[in-house]
């Protein structure tokens, strides 16, 4: 049974002269060897939370336990240099006046010269850096500097590795490769890690668990799979891909939408008396079909060419421009949805016929 390496309990931080909380009542725990990604837009509090764990900021209330030890409790907090955390900063912050070796060796304490050398070379080898350790940071490329920063944080064998936007300084080509490498290194060392990013692709490819933050609050912490398929709110859903929300009326056997009739699912939680609901589905959870099958239909409003696929904005309000076989429910507002297609020949004004492979039902006022 694995023990929780880090546990946060109701951590809150409010900066002076600010009305809002930067971090608002966040609690979670991580087991040894897990990689957690903190995802959110700027100002969501993810970096503040990371710094709170590192000890570079101090919370107003709440507790943090690291390796079974309480490191933060209310206004008492262990100084950062006494915590067993390692941190990689966004701009790497390598010490410009020290060599690579000296950078990596900086956090090593209580080792003699031989042991220090061994540890430094071990860690550097682990990160895949092949440069001469007597070089200085300004002589290295961005990717190499990142490896040095990683080695420097890992050399003291911390209990928890913290990374602040570790991939944002890399160009796209390098990024995929580095993401994979970093995950491998962390897993090889069996270390627990928390990384902060605004890029959901980073989170998906590197982390075991993802935590979504908004305005200081933790919205959802789950595996990437669950977050994608069972988002707790439309914000979370939007974060991970284009999704559609269609207002529909509950009817016997299904739902009436402006695009047509959607056959109901057996596990729909709402009874027929409910009224309006939201049907939620991803753009790729649809299939195009022809006029013979039961289908939904709409008209292409906009086409967006995205390289490997095309994105269609399809609207419907049962207007006369639409096909004659449209069975859509008339509603007050026009609704439009996004569909993905690999066919490139769509134009605005075309009629689209499609059906839903999968969808979820949510209350109309669920956020």
């Amino acid at each position: 049974m694995t023990m929780a390496i880090i546990e946060l309990n109701n951590i809150s931080k409010q900066y002076r002269n600010a009305d809002t909380y930067a971090v608002d009542g966040v609690s979670f725990s991580l087991e040894k060897g897990e990689i957690l990604a903190l995802v959110g837009e700027s100002g969501s509090g993810k970096t503040t939370l990371l710094r709170l764990i590192a000890g570079l900021e101090h919370p107003n209330s709440g507790t943090i336990e690291l390796g079974g030890e309480i490191i933060v409790s209310g206004r008492k907090s262990l100084p950062t240099n006494k915590r067993k955390t390692g941190m990689v900063f966004q701009d790497y912050a390598l010490f410009p006046h020290l060599t690579i070796f000296e950078n990596v060796a900086f956090g090593l304490k209580g080792l003699n010269k031989r042991e220090t050398e061994k540890r430094v070379h071990e860690t550097i080898k682990l990160t895949g850096l092949k440069e001469d350790v007597k070089k200085y940071p300004h002589q290295l490329s961005g990717g190499q500097q990142q490896r040095v920063a990683l080695a420097r944080a890992l050399a003291p064998r911390p209990e928890l590795l913290l990374m602040d936007e570790p991939f944002s300084n890399l160009d796209t080509i390098l990024r995929d490769q580095v993401r994979e490498e970093v995950r491998q290194i962390i897993k090889a060392m069996g270390i627990t890690a928390i990384l902060v990013t605004h890029d959901t692709k980073d989170a998906f490819s590197t982390a075991d668990k993802i935590a979504v933050m908004l305005k200081g609050k933790l919205l959802q912490l789950d595996t990437p799979d669950n977050l994608y398929n069972n988002p707790s709110s439309s914000y979370v859903a939007e974060l991970f891909g284009k999704s559609n929300n269609v207002v529909a009326t509950v009817a016997p056997g299904g739902f009436k939408t402006p695009f047509g009739f959607v056959s109901g699912r057996k596990d729909c939680p709402f009874s027929a008396n409910r009224g309006k609901v939201n049907l939620f589905f991803r753009a790729e959870e649809t299939d195009f079909c022809n006029a013979e099958e039961p289908h939904l239909c709409g008209m292409v409003e906009q086409c967006m060419y995205l390289g490997d696929h095309m994105q269609l904005k399809v609207c419907c309000n049962r207007c006369n421009k639409c096909a004659n076989d449209c069975k859509g429910e008339l509603m007050e507002e026009t609704q439009s949805i996004l569909l993905k297609t690999s066919v490139q020949t769509w134009k605005p004004g075309d009629i689209v016929r499609f059906k839903l492979k999968n969808f979820k039902v949510k209350e109309t006022d669920s956020e």
Binding site: R75, K76, N81, M87, H97
Partner: protein, 541 residues
């Protein structure tokens, strides 16, 4: 469970507070004395002299403020915007007058214009024109305004120049495209945007004017500072001197408040600092270009070259009598005192700035302002303000230990060094602050997250990275201390002279030519950091 520590209080914060209180003590002491009774000569001074102190100080501030504005802004504008022969050199040459303390410039000009001076000799020998006395008697208020203006305009010049060059070139280009000509752009855009900086520069000039003693004393102009000296030395009335200091402090604080108020929330760097430096315009006509060169050259000649030549001339006449082993000792003492104090300032500034870096609470930002307060307060006031607690301390020691101890603190170099620190803290503080800002806080955070204690981080990481700023800070403080006169005159131990006080002493005793030896050492020493700093800055470009 490891020991936890409260995070908002540590030994660094505590130390910073202690230092701040020490720096503030002289100012507080003086202000508190406002509510005390002034001495017995107060009534005499109040009715006969106080009005002229106010009037003269006001006139000086107005006159010098106006002329430094005129010269400083025009020179900065020429040098930032136009291209003309010699511009690259004038950029930094126009800072040189700062190496010349005002009172030494006063002596030089009196020498230049007097009967035995070169100007009169020229007229006599070539045109057989004789003057009675000096050509122009500058030993009066207008003369003081003149001298102070030409020696202090570089403050406005430097700040203004920085502001003009920082103004985005895109903004100027936009103004051009919208049809404004050069003059209009200057008055409507560039100058208003530089206003906070210019005001700051003039405020700085104002502080220096109120601080000046040597010039106004020599020219017989009665100001608050000369009044303080008269009360202290001539009347022996310490309480009156303190009371005058208190009034002067209030005026200075009012000036500071005024400058802050008009600046509002704008900072000194208006302008988004475009990626390109501002357009440099090459005037169409050769005569215009030559005119600009001539203007800059004239300013340089009057404010630096002529007085310097006069010094050289006097030294050539007198050095054999003056420069001996005693002179050597004088230089040694002066230098070591200045260097020692400068290093102390640097160390304290590092400590304060590091404390702020470690615990960035709201109020720590005010540390900067407070530590820099000493620079605004006139040297004479600081001297008085430091003296009082010291005497109190001595009296306590006498009472506690034995009556025969006498004065062990007052009248020693220790008190002088303390006063220098209080007065010139801002110089070191600002230079080292700039260094810390440049290296950024991240590197420090990384080191601490790797387990290094704050002290180890300071020693191994922060300090090596700000080496240049520390050197710059020590250099600037050193030069400022070397030039300092009023504070040193009041607090120096018996029979202890610095180059500055020696020059003053000799000039006051009609040995003006001899004084040039000490003056020359001070001026030449002051020129060096200007050249060094200019090299550092231009290398960065």
């Amino acid at each position: 469970m490891a020991k936890k520590t409260t995070y908002w209080w540590n030994k660094w914060t505590g130390g910073a507070i202690v230092i701040l209180l020490l720096v503030l003590t002289p100012v507080f002491t003086i202000l508190v004395k406002l509510f005390d009774k002034p001495g017995e000569h107060w009534r005499h001074i109040a009715s006969n002299l106080l009005p002229s102190y106010f009037a003269n100080s006001f006139l000086l501030l107005l006159g010098v403020g106006f002329f430094t504005f005129l010269i400083g802004v025009s020179m900065a504008w020429l040098v930032s915007v136009y291209d003309f022969p010699g511009r690259k050199y004038f950029e930094w040459l126009l800072i040189l007058p700062l190496a010349f303390p005002s009172y030494m410039m006063a002596y030089s000009y009196v020498g230049i214009l007097e009967y035995t001076g070169p100007v009169q000799a020229f007229f006599r020998n070539n045109f057989d024109i004789h003057f009675k006395g000096a050509i122009v008697d500058i030993m009066n208020m207008p003369g003081a305004i003149f001298i102070l203006s030409i020696s202090l305009f570089p403050y406005v010049y430097v700040i203004c120049r920085a502001s003009f060059t920082r103004q985005s070139s895109a903004m100027q280009e936009a103004a051009f495209l919208l049809g404004s000509n050069r003059m209009r752009m200057f008055t409507k855009i560039a100058l208003p945007m530089a206003r906070p900086a210019v005001a700051g520069g003039i405020a700085l000039v104002g502080m220096e004017v109120l601080n000046d003693y040597g010039t106004v004393k020599y020219f017989g102009v009665d100001t608050f500072t000369s009044g303080i000296f008269r009360a202290w030395f001539s009347f022996g009335d310490i309480n009156t001197a303190i009371y005058l200091s208190a009034i002067l402090t209030v005026i200075v604080l009012a000036l500071i408040w005024l400058e802050n108020f008009q600046r509002g929330s704008r900072n000194w760097n208006a302008g988004s600092g475009g990626s390109r430096p501002a357009l440099r315009i090459r005037p169409k006509y050769k005569s215009t270009r030559r005119l600009y060169t001539a203007l800059c050259l004239t300013v340089l000649l009057i404010s630096f070259i002529f007085p310097l030549m006069q010094l050289f001339y006097w030294v050539s006449l007198t050095w054999q009598n003056v420069v001996d082993s005693e002179f050597g000792i004088l230089i040694f003492r002066s230098f070591s005192l200045a260097i020692g104090s400068a290093v102390a300032i640097a160390v304290i500034s590092i400590f304060l700035l590091y404390a702020i870096r470690l615990s960035p609470l709201k109020w720590t930002k005010h540390i900067a302002r407070t530590a820099s307060l000493g620079y605004a307060i006139p040297g004479a006031v600081i001297a008085v303000g430091v003296m009082i607690p010291m005497m109190g301390l001595d009296r306590t020691i006498n009472w506690a230990v034995s009556d025969n101890m006498g004065m062990i603190l007052s009248g020693t170099l220790f008190i002088l060094v303390v006063a220098y620190i209080v007065r010139f803290m801002a110089v070191g503080y600002n230079a080292i602050d700039a260094g810390f800002q440049k290296t950024g806080a991240t590197v420090n955070e990384v080191a601490r997250s790797l387990g290094a204690s704050p002290l180890r981080t300071l020693w191994k990481i922060d300090l090596p990275l700000i080496k240049n700023s520390i050197a710059g800070a020590v250099l600037l403080a050193f030069v400022d201390i070397l030039k300092e006169l009023p504070l040193t005159l009041i607090l120096r131990p018996f029979n202890f002279h610095t180059l500055a006080t020696k020059a003053f002493d000799m000039a006051t005793n009609e040995m003006i030519a001899e004084s040039a030896n000490a003056s020359l050492v001070v001026v030449l020493t002051g020129v060096i950091p200007i050249i060094v700093l200019n090299n550092m800055i231009s290398r960065k470009k």
